[in-house]
Amino acid sequence: MSTYANKKGFGATIWDYLTTVDHKKIAILYLISGGLFFVIGGLEAMFIRIQLAIPNNDFVSAGFYNEILTMHGTTMIFLAAMPLVFAVMNAVVPLQIGARDVAFPFLNSLGFWLFFFGGIFLNLSWFLGGAPDAGWTSYASLSLHSEGHGIDFYVLGLQISGLGTLIAGINFLVTIINMRTPGMTYMRMPLFTWSTFVVSALILFAFPPLTVGLVLMMFDRMFGSNFFDVAAGGNTIIWEHLFWIFGHPEVYILILPAFGIFSEIFATFSRKRLFGYSSMVFATVLIGFLGFMVWAHHMFTTGLGPIANAIFAVATMAIAVPTGIKIFNWIFTMWGGSVKFTVPMLYAVAFIPTFTMGGVTGIMLASAPADYQYHDSYFVVAHFHYVIVGGVVLGLLAGINFYWPKMFGTMLNEKLGQITFWTFLIGFHLTFFIQHFLGLMGMPRRVFTFLDNQGLNTGNMISTVGAFLMAFGVLVMVINIIITSVKNEKVGNDPWGDGRTLEWAIPSPPPFYNFKQLPLVRGLDPYWVEKMEGKTEMTPAEPLGDIHMPNSSILPLTIAFGLFVAAFGALYNMDDKTWTLPIIIVGLLITFGSMLIRSVKDDHGYHIHKEDLMDDKDKGGKA
């Protein structure tokens, strides 16, 4: 119970976090580990840019370069962007819908630990004979012939962390469907909650194909099956399809939460209701829907035939429509609003042109005939960095700045935040804008070096300089976080002063039970509605009563750890080592044993009594 956290020692705090099932603490765990992987992925990016700064560079070897570029992509998508998105979702969504917790607190924690051990497993490949080197897409024709265990680390690590993601997705769906507070209808849900809802549905349907693809790859590499072995009747295109059936929705899984965060920020700092709320909801759902029928645009040059290419090209272009709706709604939200340029708002405003540029090159790439020219060139690299960094990363930086006070009860420094913003933004455009032209001039992606006198020198140098600027921005942000945490100046409910949704109606950070009494929602932007009537608090929807809370548990960690152990056994088993079988068995025993304990031991949770809540006057709510 966090109430007593400040009385506990360091070890007890660690234990508290290892066993926590509180969504707010799990959010912090996601934030820390996601941040860590973001830094690792960023370092890999710096290695790439240093290597490509000058022609014929030998900073890293060709083979090592392949490992770096693979791990950069894999880490950033699966281990940095996903968990950071989950960090914000965990921190905010239950508060936004007025829930005391998520639907499955235990599974929420399990999801985190699976992700965490999967990520650690994948990154241990660096020290155990080499990282995966077949690109983050790991096409079967390449990866089946990759030497060493790199690809096996990829397959098993992603399998474990993918399982965690699937669990998190189901958890958020049930939370949003079942746990909304009285009055919080679907069409009153904040946009970030809506995007979480749609994203969770995408996770539910997109991750199983990845699971299947990884299983097939694992069988092929470890047990001698022939799914992708053409000589035995196999077909490598199957991997491409399975990967992209997952992979394309995955990019929407990342970008939609960013859209949600920006929608909150635009409304808050324009001090105006979000323009076209229902069309925003509609556009979010439509993007999610269309996101499932466009995956083959990653495979235009595979040779699917003109009919398939045409269908997927048209479907891809159709996505520009709902995205355009969103862009205009954000602009109209600012129009006539009383705009306040805080750091989150700066990110939001910069996001619009940046992301639009990524969208426009997306339409160019969606034209199947033209794509034959762009395919596998730096033009593609520029495009997806414009949407992922210009959309997702800006969104996450904005979201972290915006929700930092809600998560930690203290504000990040605005000055330092602005420095981060400007260096990161300028650095970003410097790095990637020029890459469009490098691509059009014919520079292929995933090459470890280029020759002199091909007109690529200046562009690559500019790109590297920009990357250093981005790194500087991130560094300033880390310093900002440290300074802020040391100072730790506490803030109240609504530190931005213009909070509109439920999370700003309760203390920062919220008490572990979130809401003493569930709030009654009387319209869109419920806290704003109350404020406009001159109230400072939400009207409660229930009398003060006992609150039921789940118990902490170490089992999620042990379940995930067992799989981690078993994965090591499985990985080395293909070398015919005798010690691997016991390792697999021990790992699986840990996992299934923990699951058995979980299902056999009753866990009814505990109650916080009404009387204790009444003593807690300063924690908000009224008796």
Binding site: A103, F104, L107, L166, I170, N171, L173, V174, I177, N178, M179, L204, F205, F207, P208, P209, T211, V212, G213, V215, L216, F219, D220, F223, G224, S225, N226, F227, D229, A231, A232, G233, G234, N235, I238, L242, I245, H548, L596, S599, V600, D602, H604, G605, H607
Partner: protein, 209 residues
């Protein structure tokens, strides 16, 4: 939580699986999981269909040579019947008849084991009679993966139902374990749904050619 309190027939709610918030969440979450499982099995079916009869040389066994009607028919009857018996179990759960529920679950589990035994015999048969193995061809890999995934689900379901029965043997029904029994039975039905497509798409259509 008073969810392990004992109920009389009169106080036992009409839908015990959805009477508590935890139950409702579990119920919905499990259905959503089945939505994800649908995609999982669809991907496996798709892979199987793409690799059906894809073999390295002319000697390898094809679907037409392998499958036999009687074996598949018996397996299908076993699993379909076990679906009905688990419906009976849930019927008795709703009536708060714990003993009868356990009895029907025992029958369900027995049928499940029979099905699993048949499947093991079948795989063994293919390997020894036709040299149709997991590694002999892409067709073999896809076949054993799809049907094996289903078999794995059956095995997991059996373990699940057995551990539920053993755990609750002495304490009977309450609102804490009713949702657990209910979702286990949903899982069992889902396994049956998948099997309906397996016997149709893999076996029957395989025999047709």
């Amino acid at each position: 939580m008073q969810s392990d309190e004992r109920f009389t027939d009169a106080t036992w709610p009409a839908s015990p699986e959805k009477a508590t918030l935890e139950g409702k969440n579990k119920y919905l979450g499990f259905w959503l999981f089945l939505g994800g499982e649908t995609v999982l099995f669809a991907s496996l079916f798709a892979t199987y269909l793409a690799l059906k009869d894809k073999v390295p040389n002319g000697d390898a066994a094809l679907a037409k040579d392998l499958f036999e009607l009687p074996l598949t028919f018996v397996a299908t009857m076993l699993l379909l019947t076990s679906s009905l018996t688990s419906v009976y179990a849930m019927y008795h759960m709703k009536n708060n008849h714990f003993k009868q529920m356990q009895a029907w679950l025992v029958i369900t589990v027995a049928l499940g084991f029979a099905f699993l035994g048949l499947e093991i015999y079948e795989f063994n048969h293919y390997v020894h009679e036709y040299h149709h193995t997991f590694t002999s061809s892409a067709f073999g890999s896809a076949f054993y993966t799809l049907v094996g995934f289903h078999g794995g689900h059956v095995a997991f379901g059996l373990m699940w139902i057995i551990s539920l029965m053993v755990r609750n043997a002495r304490r009977g029904l309450n609102l804490y374990n009713a949702p657990k029994f209910y979702v286990a039975s949903l899982y069992w039905h889902f396994i049956d749904v998948v099997w309906v497509f397996i016997f149709t798409v893999v076996y029957l259509m395989g025999m047709v050619g």
